[in-house]
Symmetry: C2
Subunit: 289 residues, 2 copies
DNA sequence: TATACTAATGACTAACCGGTCATTTGTCAA
DNA sequence: TTGACAAATGACCGGTTAGTCATTAGTATA
């Protein structure tokens, strides 16, 4: 089957380009890295690059999507499934671990956050940030309940600050040389967060301010988009159990008749597969779980 | 005096360029702004630009120096002169106020922090960051004394995080539209900081990590450089009292025979003048006050 | 007015950029 | 071996950049 093989080749070439670009963007920044540099780096021609990506912008958006989808669905899954005693620690540890493991991407994401001029890309970054915000907010509400309602936005922002700033610490200063103890760091951030949650009395951030910042990109996941994504995942999936789970979830989307427990179980099944994390996250949101 | 007038003209032209560049860099970023754009913006020719600055890089370094010198000497003065009850509030309020007032510069500084490739510029930014770190550390030690020694680096980093993240909030999202209450924000950050200082028990940051990060740019201010800077300030100063204070301080540098109280008073005199803040800061450090 | 000198100009250079496309190379089935 | 088709190439295009420099404009003195 030449078409499939061609498809595979193209896929791996796309991956090759993305890997090289990740390296170079992290070192030099997106704008400072030329397409020529990328193609030299992975030993292909400039023309070949444009067979895989329509533009340089499409490449970085693909990178952002690739990592943020995995990142956010992981964190969201943790927030929604971990018991309260371990939740905060798991949240911090996973976050720090992700940034540490994918430090090249972390550098790119943080850099483009403040620097990018590309409106498409900026919108995408804001979108993922907003998703992360709402996940953290959900966690805060679960952890501390009603009595911290008046300071929940400040708490959310402090949590975000902690993750961002301590990540920057080891992203932009090769603290990698010192072996850093992420377990200890997570514990110390848990302590700080609990302190702030229990004793803070002066709120600053209001719903209004957060709304201005988050821009409320009202993005109800459209059923059609979800179906399309499911279809694609089904096509590319080899493992039979996960494939069947995906098919059943697709049917549930078209004609809801499965019990909540079954749907939850099917989502559990697919969550484990790296290629299904994102669709799992979107389905959780669609089914309001 | 044609030479002096020429000098003045050049100065004001330099200032004109810096003002225009500040605007454009904040909006578009340093690399995305061309020299042509800057010169068009302030109605001069491209050649004229290179009469004032040797390169585009020299321009942004001049901007960073200009603002960071004022910024750091202000904060350092506050930390060294304010009584403990008001200190933390003053620190936060002044910091936030500075970022708010000079939001254009704030944007540039934060952007270049993570993005810049220019090694000179990056070194300069790290240098000012290290100065700020040591000032915050001094404040922490003054405020909370010996008993927080084990967590002082974490506390310093949290304070820095608070300032940075809450400043970014109103720098990059035009929260200016909502009238933001910096007094309230400062109070809320004071509360958070005190909470962390009094109850944190798990340290993460160690002296070693901070040293790696700060790169310990061992920058004993050289007496000759200080004399040169003093000389320059004396030449440009009009106000007689400040001018005399500068002259006396210069003599003290060459031949120390004034009492500490007199030196302190002279430093008070010059601190008030915007053009002497930096030399005042450097002298305080040189005299170990 | 003539002279001398500095300030200011903008056309120009050399380099680099993202993106295109006519051409070549490689790989199949017939 | 041939023919057909897709994959890959890199010279090339139009555009932008930082920085230069021969030339001109402006001004103060003699």
């Amino acid at each position: 089957m030449s078409t499939i093989k061609a498809g595979e080749d193209k896929m791996s070439k796309k991956q090759l380009i993305m890997d090289s670009a990740l390296d170079l963007f992290a070192k030099q920044g997106f704008e400072a890295t030329s397409v020529q540099q990328i193609t030299d780096y992975c030993g292909i021609s400039k023309g070949a690059f444009y067979l895989s990506f329509k533009s340089k912008d499409e490449l970085i958006i693909a990178l952002i999507d690739h990592f943020m989808e995995a990142f956010i669905s992981d964190i969201d899954y943790i927030v929604k499934t971990t018991n309260n005693e371990e939740l905060l620690y798991s949240f911090y540890y996973t976050n720090l671990q992700s940034f540490h493991k994918h430090s090249d991407f972390g550098k790119i994401f943080i850099k483009e956050q403040t620097h990018s001029l590309n409106q498409d890309l900026l919108g995408r970054i804001r979108y993922y940030n907003a998703l992360m915000d709402s996940t953290i907010l959900l966690m805060v509400e679960r952890l501390y309940g009603e009595e911290i309602t008046h300071i929940k936005y400040d708490l959310m922002y402090c949590i975000k600050s902690f993750v961002t700033m301590y990540s920057e610490l080891f992203l932009f200063n090769n603290v990698v040389s010192l072996d850093l103890d992420l377990d200890l760091l997570a514990h110390s951030l848990v302590e700080k967060t609990n302190l702030l949650a229990k004793h803070t009395s002066i709120p600053f951030l209001t719903k209004e301010i957060i709304q201005v910042v988050s821009q409320t990109t009202d993005d109800k996941v459209k059923r059609e988009q979800l179906l399309e994504l499911l279809e694609q995942n089904i096509k590319e999936m080899d493992e039979p159990i996960i494939k069947e789970s995906l098919i059943l979830l697709k049917q549930q989307l078209l004609n809801p008749n499965l019990s909540p427990a079954i749907v939850a179980g099917l989502l559990e099944n697919i969550q484990k597969n790296p290629h299904c994390k994102w669709v799992s996250y979107l389905l959780r949101h669609y089914f309001q779980i």
